[in-house]
Amino acid sequence: MRDDHEIADDSTSMPLPGGLAIERLIQSAGNYVTASADLRPRVIEVARERASDRRMCWRIFSVMAAAVMCVVIGTAVSQRFDQMSDFSSVMDEPILHGPDDTTRYLDRRDWALADAIVRWRHELASKFSDPLRDQQHNGVARD
């Protein structure tokens, strides 16, 4: 039991007159202050509301994350499908008419190729003149 005039601790010892009596007096007043009647329900209610809000936020986040994933995956799949569709339709669609008839081509690339071939043929024709054609042309002109 501590000495009546000491304020002692496991690490220090401080003799102080009347210290123990003062400690006892303070100890006796420890239960004088009490919580208000609504503190308990208020604390529990706030805790429940915050837990409910957290669950709601988690649900919203999960739904949004799932929606974003669906959009990303759907977009990637859709683009891939379009690419595959274009390639297969190019391969499957035939050139239906021969060179003397109107030839159908499928896209701009084919038109550009056709235009290039026509121009090249004209250039070749202009470079290599045809005597028979020239005679026929001149005879027609004199006549």
Binding site: D4, I7, D9, D10, S11, T12, M14, L16, P17, G18, G19, A21, I22, E23, R24, L25, I26, Q27, S28, A29, G30, N31, Y32, V33, T34, A35, S36, L39, R40, R42, V43, I44, V46, A47, R48, R50, A51, R54
Partner: protein, 201 residues
């Protein structure tokens, strides 16, 4: 010491129940600790309403993250530190001024047989409020919570010797105000002997 260890174990069990069952289990922790936390917080905030706000904030944080308390080495001192931090936050936010030594804010209770002691208790609380917060904290933790200076140092994040010094200075300041009351309520054998001699004389 044993009481403190027992309380620490009970606080840990409450935290584990909250982790398992959610906020509904917070009532157990409240019933176990709210009174102690409140009287400690009142010492810091000097206002019961602010103290209740601080205690509420700390306990709600525990309900949000019970693992904070469950995984602490010393859950009860950790909870005291949480309340201390919340009390300091409340003080910083507080704009109104209140007389430090006024006890008008306190919500009190007393037994039927303690009517004559109410004035004594109010003097004690008034004397505690006259101390600087640094000293009154140590007094509360030492006397009402039964902590050692080492444990007090962990809560207040000071060295044990600093805690002991603050406690000594606090008792020295309280002595002139509380010694007369202490003598009246708990007369020492020496003073009783003096009274007997006077009666006989």
């Amino acid at each position: 010491m044993a009481d403190l260890e027992s309380l620490t174990g009970q606080v840990r069990e409450c935290a584990e129940r909250i982790a398992e069952s959610g906020p509904a289990a917070l009532s157990g922790l409240f019933d176990l600790t709210a009174h102690r936390l409140l009287r400690y917080s009142v010492t810091i905030t000097r206002n019961q309403h602010d103290a209740e706000d601080a205690v509420q904030a700390a306990l709600v944080r525990v309900a949000d993250s019970p693992q904070l308390l469950g995984r602490a080495d010393q859950p009860w001192p950790y909870l005291l530190r949480m309340v201390r931090n919340e009390s300091l936050v409340v003080i910083r936010k507080r704009k109104r001024w209140s007389p430090l030594q006024s006890l008008a804010d306190l919500i009190t209770q007393r037994g039927v047989d303690e009517v004559e002691l109410e004035e004594t208790y109010r003097e004690v609380w008034s004397a505690l409020r006259s101390l600087p917060t640094q000293q009154s904290e140590v007094v509360v933790l030492k006397i009402w919570e039964g902590m050692t200076f080492a444990q007090i140092g962990e809560v207040l994040e000071v060295s044990p010797s600093t805690a002991a010094s603050r406690y000594r200075y606090a008792i020295e300041k309280l002595a002139p105000k509380l010694m007369p009351l202490a003598e009246i309520n708990n007369p020492s054998p020496a003073s009783l002997k003096d009274v007997e001699v006077r009666h006989e004389g």
